[in-house]
Amino acid sequence: MERELRYAINVPNIASEVFGDEVVIVNLYSGIYYSLTGTAAQVWIRTIQNYSVDEILADFSLIYEDITTENRQQVTELIADLLDKTLITEAQNKTAIKVEFDSTLPKKPFAKPQIEVFSDMQEILLLDPVHDVDKNGWPLMKDQDKA
């Protein structure tokens, strides 16, 4: 991953919102949603404002105590995971939109950023895999007769 690359939310497929300290992200194609808290939420908030990894870490050095090499790697891995889950994409913007925060507050300990994944909406419908289409081009499930 190139550390100077910038990212953006993968609209229109992805919707997200901040609730207090938690970010909720929904993949509108898959029905899977994600919850990010703590450092992960802070990474997301900056990532979708087109921050690069280095710019995120620069902010984090003012928010968290003693950022280690391992911590830096964890942030990088989270962004790689967000990319892998297609929640973010490479940004066209070449400048970040500044995220305001109070850098005079006491620094907090850094906790490994993590993503919680929820797929209960998929379980509601329990869709069989689509494997074919009917003669008009609409998808069929495996137990549906061909039209």
Binding site: A15, E22, V24, Y29, Y33, I124, L125, V133, P139, A147
Partner: protein, 351 residues
């Protein structure tokens, strides 16, 4: 992927033309007027079998024709009984989202969704105020679709009128209502049905509408169906209502139509006093303050996943509408018989 607005207009025009052709020659058209959160709709079904798949779950919102112009007309038909094939798919099936929304065919005027499990196409033209629901065969409509029919068209109309459909149950009494949020399997339906059996009003067990513009948050009833997991059916020996025996994909739940048996307990609207998230922690039944963010997260994200044409705006609307309400975790306790009384007491306590 659709390339131009012209393709979208053409697709809708073809679907409307096919629909008008069906209804011009149909001899058994069933027509009903409904009040959807105060919006008057006229539903027209191509024949009795199609109407039977849709009407039982919305019987409580059917109104007498007033003679006034209806705001929208919704046409419902199936290919089996009419011989009319579904309109040709305008996109590859990979461009249909999980919630059914068809990529490229949703804008300020048009909304389109396709539900693979029901082989059902839902279209809405907000400018001409016409909705269409067409399906392959109404006789094999999955139980889930019969429990919450027309939800894509309803959601599009409600959203246009700044009312949100949400994935939540709601119950209440003469003094107000509570919204019951929860992930799938959390106990929304069973809690709502316990309250109904216990004498509380019932606004729905899975999908309701919430006004996002009135001074007091208001819940509107849309569906009078109820669902109980097959393995839990023995716990509800006293439930009345009309069961439908549908073996379908909806995780083996038994579906009941409640409008006839509980017609005095199905109000049209209620003021929301609190938002609850049921949990089964055992021990004594009770309420404890819950995190606003945690419940809203569940409410919003499950709504986005379930309902087509719902995106980021639902987060903002619900956060704005519900933020002044108290949020509680609802420990259902060991004795289900106490659930209705506990909810009733809670509503009475909230000013």
């Amino acid at each position: 992927m659709v390339e131009t607005d012209t393709e979208v207009v053409q697709f809708f025009e073809q679907a409307v033309a096919a629909t008008f052709q069906i209804f011009d020659r149909a001899t058994d058209v069933i027509s009903r007027d409904v009040s959807l959160a105060g919006i008057n709709l006229r539903l027209k079904f191509s024949d009795t079998s199609v109407a039977q798949g849709i009407l039982p779950a919305i019987e409580q919102i059917i109104v007498d024709p007033s003679g006034l112009p209806t705001a929208y007309t919704i046409f419902v038909w199936d290919s089996f009984s009419t011989g009319m094939p579904l309109p040709k798919a305008p996109v590859k099936f990979t461009e249909i989202k999980f919630s059914g929304e068809i990529t490229g065919f949703n804008n300020q005027r048009f909304q389109a969704a396709y539900f693979t499990h029901a082989r059902m196409l839902s279209l809405l033209d907000l400018e001409k105020k016409i909705g269409i629901l067409c399906m392959a065969d109404a006789r094999i409509l999955p139980g889930f679709e019969m429990a919450c029919p027309l939800r894509s068209v309803f959601n599009g109309i409600l959203k246009h009128h700044k009312i949100s459909m949400v994935h939540a149950a709601a119950v209440g009494n003469a003094e107000g209502a509570v919204l019951i949020a929860g992930q799938s399997g959390a106990g929304k339906s069973s809690t709502a049905l316990r309250c109904l059996i216990g004498g509380l009003d019932y606004f729905g067990d899975d999908v309701c509408a919430i006004s996002t513009f009135e001074e007091k948050p208001t819940v509107f009833s849309i569906y009078s169906s109820g669902k109980i997991h097959s393995k839990d059916l023995y716990k509800f020996p006293n439930i009345k209502g009309t069961p439908i025996n549908k073996k379908d994909i909806e995780y083996e739940k038994e579906i009941f139509f409640l409008a006839e048996a509980y017609k005095n307990y199905l109000p049209f609207r209620g003021n929301i006093k609190a938002v609850l998230m049921p949990c089964q922690s055992g021990g004594k039944i009770g309420f404890s303050p819950a995190s606003y963010g945690g419940i809203l997260r569940v409410l919003c994200s499950s709504t986005v996943g379930l309902l087509p044409h719902t995106g980021n705006e639902i987060f903002l609307q619900l956060a704005s509408t519900l933020q002044k309400l108290p949020f509680y975790n609802f420990n259902l306790g060991d004795n289900p018989e106490e659930i209705a009384g506990a909810v009733n007491d809670l509503i009475k306590q909230i000013i």
